[in-house]
């Protein structure tokens, strides 16, 4: 990956405590998996930023390499990749997500 793209991705994941790379926007998710993540974060009433990968092909491919993760959505907490839709659902159901985000936002 070229260093300009790497730097852009690093800046994006660090732009807010919770950052979601998704298809579509918070109000109009374009994919069921992205929608799952938005609904979970809304349910926890935490502030989060989103980046619509459909608006930027370079980021859409680059973020997959960046995290070594082949799918969208991707959720970052304090710059750390914590998972996609399946893992978020699992962490939400176990209560682990609420705890992790409370700590991250403290």
């Amino acid at each position: 990956m070229d260093s300009a793209l790497q730097a852009r991705l690093e800046a994006l994941v660090a732009s807010s405590p919770i950052v979601v790379f998704m298809k579509g926007t918070k109000l109009m998710p374009q994919c069921g998996f992205s929608n799952n993540v938005v609904q979970i974060l809304n349910a926890l009433a935490v502030p989060f930023e989103t980046f619509d990968v459909l608006s930027d092909m370079e980021i859409r491919q680059g973020i997959k390499e960046f995290s070594d993760w082949p799918t969208i959505p991707q959720v970052y907490v304090n710059g750390e990749f914590i998972g996609g839709s399946d893992i978020l659902i699992e962490m939400y159901n176990s209560g682990e997500l609420k705890e992790k985000l409370a700590v991250a936002l403290a």
Binding site: W69, P70, F81, G83, G84, E90
Partner: protein, 78 residues
Amino acid sequence: MVHPDQVRAAIHQALPDASVEVEDLTGGGDHLQVSVVSSAFAGLSRVKQHQLVYGALRSELASEAIHALALQTSTPNA
């Protein structure tokens, strides 16, 4: 699209002890639900566990032969 047997074979190649269940959610072969139980996951974070499975299916995911993959991983004792 891929056949569930191809998915099972690819995962077994990477994780020989794995028990794999593949469900074709739409009948179209590109929206799959896969659950994998393997001792290779012991001690790994969920992200690392999923990365092992994604790694096994890298070419199918990259080509979008598999468009959507709902994945669950666990260890035999969990």
